[in-house]
């Protein structure tokens, strides 16, 4: 049974992709102040698990609960509390870095002028007016991640956030995660790198590649 302060808990999730059971009857919970790393080899279902937790995919069986209520009953409330950044950065090449960020901030109810200042955090100052199609994949990812610095939503679900990010950037992100957790947030992420965060702060959920 999940404890009452669980922000998010998964109840007996089963995920099936093209005739293969990725995981079965997986239960886990995420509390305020948690940094949870989902680990496992390629094809173990890390991304699928994150997408199910974010409400983007439906599990074959089982359910995700947010504040002890099934997800499908309060999608809007859940989405108010969730930031998900997946493999794809969701950056439009036809818009500038600043416009891209400003759009996502505005959808959270934040003023667009916050965008310029936030781009500084991800080392993109000077690129505000560059069309995103002229920027690299790493820079796209940094634009996408930039909104985390402004983000007031407690639950962060991040799929491989460190891909194509330089060392300093990774360090900044890690500091941000710790800060967020201290303020009562919850970070769920996958990564192939070792986190340089105090091991006591990080929980790990290990997914195995199942043969059958």
């Amino acid at each position: 049974m999940p404890s009452s302060n669980a922000l998010l808990h998964a109840d007996k999730l089963t995920c099936i992709r093209e005739d293969r059971i990725l995981f079965e009857a997986l239960s886990c919970q995420f509390n305020q102040g948690d940094i949870v790393q989902i680990a496992g080899p390629n094809g173990a279902g890390k991304t699928s698990l994150l997408r199910i937790l974010a409400g983007l995919s439906q599990p074959f069986e089982g359910e995700v609960h947010f504040q002890n209520q099934p997800l499908h009953k309060n999608v809007e409330l859940y989405n108010q509390n969730l930031t998900y950044i997946g493999h794809l950065a969701g950056i439009k090449g036809e818009m500038t870095a600043q416009e891209n960020l400003a759009f996502y901030l505005a959808m959270q109810g934040l003023p667009p002028h916050a965008a310029e200042q936030t781009l500084e955090n991800v080392n993109l100052l000077g690129f505000e007016d560059a069309l995103a199609s002229h920027l690299s994949a790493g820079q796209h990812r940094r634009i996408a991640l930039a909104r985390l610095w402004q983000c007031q939503k407690p639950i962060w679900i991040l799929d491989e956030p460190f891909t194509a990010i330089d060392k300093q950037g990774v360090k900044n992100l890690e500091n941000l995660f710790v800060e967020h957790a201290k303020q009562g947030g919850c970070v769920i992420l996958t990564t192939h790198q070792d986190l340089a965060i105090d091991a006591q702060l990080v929980k790990t959920i290990e997914l195995e590649y199942q043969l059958v």
């Binding site: 099936i16 992709r17 093209e18 005739d19 293969r20 059971i21 074959f60 059958v212």
Partner: protein, 247 residues
């Protein structure tokens, strides 16, 4: 309210239940069709206007009625699959689509073959033939969409949404085509008046209709079983069942 449905939501139980029903449907269909078609071809009287060509009626009309009702049935199944998240309802919708398409094709072909001696041409843009043709397109769209997805559960959901959109459109399309038809052709083409059917025409028709209906049921059961298997291939019961059957 839907609690009583629960055992049927279990794929294993449904699979075996369907397996038990299939032979009943098959035999009923064979018997009814044997009686109905023999009666229709040999013993039913010829129509006083259309002569012996009227015998096409015994296939054409059941096929046309079934083609429409299968689409509606498919949409209802898809709707319950979408609303109550019944995975088996999606599977049954997927099983129905090809059957419906075949009956639509039969209705079209027999309609054309009946039209040639009656109207002097294989095809006229008659309201009923036109809407039957559009119905065939709707079926083909559903089938093509279903085949385009690799994940069968997603395929069922997507095809289901299309079937529901289609069923909302069918009355609109039917109405618009009928209206278009009267506008452009007026009374120049005499449609078949509803033939006043005598009892010796009515009975063979009923036998044929129910024969085809049970045929639909039998084939749908078979396809439904296939769908259940392919969607549950990772389940132990499916593996055991397949191991037993393929030796």
């Amino acid at each position: 309210m839907w609690k009583w449905l629960h055992p049927y939501a279990n794929p294993e139980i449904t699979y075996h239940f369907t397996g038990k029903l299939t032979p009943w449907f098959t035999w009923l269909s064979i018997i009814l069709l044997a009686i109905g078609l023999t009666w229709a071809l040999l013993f039913a009287p010829a129509d006083y206007q259309q002569g012996e060509s009227f015998r096409i009626f015994y296939i054409h009309v059941p096929a046309a009625i079934l083609s429409m009702s299968i689409y509606v049935g498919m949409a209802i199944a898809a709707f319950s699959g979408l609303v109550w998240q019944l995975k088996l309802a999606d599977a049954s919708a997927a099983a129905l689509a090809p059957v419906g398409a075949v009956f639509t094709a039969i209705a079209l072909i027999t309609g054309a073959a009946w039209g040639k001696p009656m109207w002097g041409t294989w095809w006229i843009w008659d309201a009923r033939l036109t809407s039957e043709l559009i119905l065939l397109f709707l079926y083909l769209g559903v089938i093509a969409l279903h085949n385009a997805f690799e994940d069968k559960a997603l395929a069922g959901k997507a095809a289901g949404i299309l079937a529901i959109v289609g069923v909302i459109n069918i009355p609109i399309i039917k109405y618009s085509v009928e209206w278009w038809n009267t506008l452009h052709q007026g009374a120049t083409v005499s449609k078949f008046g509803k033939p006043a059917m005598s009892a010796d025409m009515y009975w063979p028709f009923l036998f044929c209709f129910f024969g085809f209906a049970f045929f639909v049921a039998a084939v749908t059961c078979l396809r439904f079983k296939t769908e259940i298997l392919s969607r549950n291939s990772m389940r132990p019961w499916v593996k055991a069942l397949v191991k037993e059957e393929i030796k």
